[in-house]
Amino acid sequence: MSKAGPSSASPLAGRLQVSAVLIGGFACILAMGTSLAIGPASIDKTAVFKELIDRLPFIAIDSGLSPIHKSVIWEVRFPRVLLGALVGSTLAVSGASYQAVFRNPLADPYLLGAAAGAGLGATVAIVTGSGDGIGAFDMVPVLAFLGAMSAVVMTYLLGYSSGARRSPSALLLAGVAVAAFLTAIQTFIQQQNVDSIRQVYSWILGRLNTASWTEVQLLAPYALIATLVMFLSRRTLDVMRLGDTEASSVGLRPQVVRFLVIAAASLGTAASVSVSGLIAFVGIIVPHAVRLLAGTSNRIVLPLSVLYGAAFLAFVDLLGRSLVSPAEIPIGVITAFCGAPFFVVVLRTSRKALA
């Protein structure tokens, strides 16, 4: 290039700003670090810090913690913090992806019936006594996952049989129908088995308090694959902002892109809700906050949603278990408490975009 001025140094406007990434990374570390250091078992905070440093490769320092305290950190707090961050980032990036695909800022990862399907699956597992949601080889996450995936597949089939190829909004309507249907079945089963209603409710309100490495291991592979696919679709999703005709004039197949991204987002959502229950609004709050902060290009919103979603849910979990310590507020209650007013804000600020 003849003129290599400062303007040609960053050819991609709407490129990720370093500051936004740094702030997000810092928020993640802060929220996760604080969560590790705080808990009902009062453990010296500097010792927790030393213990963490000790685990880094090639570093050996003695934290002076008892084996019990060490196991509280590594077997209780650490998997919980990690699970919270993983669920938060997956739900947030799934929400951002749904919003991009449906070109609607209020689209939510539970929109295509994933939540209702997971709820039904979990309820069936709990009332048949095939699981209590705790520990390895438990049927709750398995059935919740299957429920969520089948619900999304049902929505897809129903939507496409009624014209979603032409307009994706048919898919949203199909999602509403499927969710209502599955919720009706779930409510019926729950009514027939009143004795387990507490367990079902504790699952529905979302929880990270039973988190162990098992849940982390269950979720991680799905979350990573799904997040990777969504992350790699960020450019394509910006092309899709031109609408189907123009997207296909530059060589995309809009239905294929939609299918790919919806599949990834649904997989991530299903895996998340299967281990953590229904944590509402994360998929709307986080992407929208990112848009306000850093811009609306999907190249920005998707990667940052991963980061800020992790920080957000780690922080909310910290609130949930420290506000009324030693009792806990269910995490889904807090996200809904922040989310409902936020929804109104999103609606008001995006009314122009929707019109």
Binding site: M1, K3, S7, S8, P11, L12, A13, G14, V229, L232, S233, R234, R235, T236, D238, V239, R241, L242, G243, T245, E246, S248, S249, V250, G251, L252, R253, V257, L260, G295, T296, S297, R299
Partner: protein, 259 residues
């Protein structure tokens, strides 16, 4: 680039016939303008040529039927600008222009060095360097039109299809846009097909004109042949004179003296 041949294309919407047995051939390197009254089917013909609208009949590029190509293959051969392009208001100019690179980037990939080079090249070519970080909603009509052209050129195809690229512009910007297309066309040996409303400009810039009326080709040939005052008067239902000024063709509507 090969010949683009449109053979016996018919398009219907319900009972309404939009295109009725249209056949035209575009030669490599040609500048062809499609003109005709509102609703004649110009936009429809262009989108059929772009492979974006199904029709009976066929569109061939060389020996290949457009219908047998994947969208990606098609997008390597021709770039298409619709009459009313979608404009995400907060998208940046460079982000928008880079969309033209899509056919050259794998589905899950992102832009490489080459794409950025081409971006900078077309931004420079269209004097958009200073606008690259601006959002689309902050641009004037003329700037926006250059932005669209930049996206089309970034796609780097031998043929470009433009639907009324000058309609929303003032006189000066119309001329600048067409001059620009003319300059770039000779640099890149582009084939240009565009629909136009301004018959004088169509006559001055194109090698050949296709005059559509009610979905049929009413006339086709050099500007001098097609822009015949009697034919135009009948087709447009207007009083029209055609003159030659400094060997440029000029089509002028004239006022009736009856009132």
């Amino acid at each position: 680039m090969n010949h683009c041949s449109v053979r016996n294309v018919c398009v219907n919407a319900g009972k309404k016939v939009i295109l009725d047995n249209v056949s035209v051939t575009i030669s490599p390197g040609e500048w062809v303008s499609i003109v005709g009254p509102n609703g004649a089917g110009k936009s429809t013909l262009l989108s059929v040529m772009a492979g974006l609208r199904s029709s009976s009949g066929s569109v061939h590029l060389g020996d290949t039927d457009l219908a047998d190509m994947t969208p990606r293959e098609r997008a390597h051969h021709l770039a298409y600008l619709p009459q009313h392009p979608e404009l995400p208001p907060d998208m940046s100019v460079s982000g928008y222009v880079l969309i033209g690179r899509n056919p050259h980037i794998p589905l899950l990939g992102s832009e490489g060095q080459r794409d950025i080079e081409i971006l900078n090249q077309v931004l420079e070519q269209l004097s958009l360097e200073d606008f690259q970080n601006r959002t689309l909603d902050s641009l004037s009509g003329g700037e926006l039109q250059r932005c669209h052209l930049a996206r089309i050129l970034a796609q780097d195809t031998p043929m470009i299809l433009l639907d009324e690229p000058t309609t929303a512009l003032d006189l000066g910007h119309q001329q600048q846009t067409l001059d620009l297309i003319c300059r770039i066309r000779s640099q890149r040996e582009l084939t240009v097909v565009m629909t136009m409303h301004d018959l004088s400009l169509a006559g001055q810039y194109s090698d050949r004109i296709i005059l559509l009326s009610q979905g049929e080709v009413a006339s086709e040939g050099t500007p001098k042949d097609v822009l015949n005052p009697d034919r135009l008067s009948a087709l447009y239902g207007a009083r029209i004179q055609v003159m030659e000024v400094d060997s440029d063709i000029v089509v002028i509507p004239t006022r009736s003296r009856e009132f």
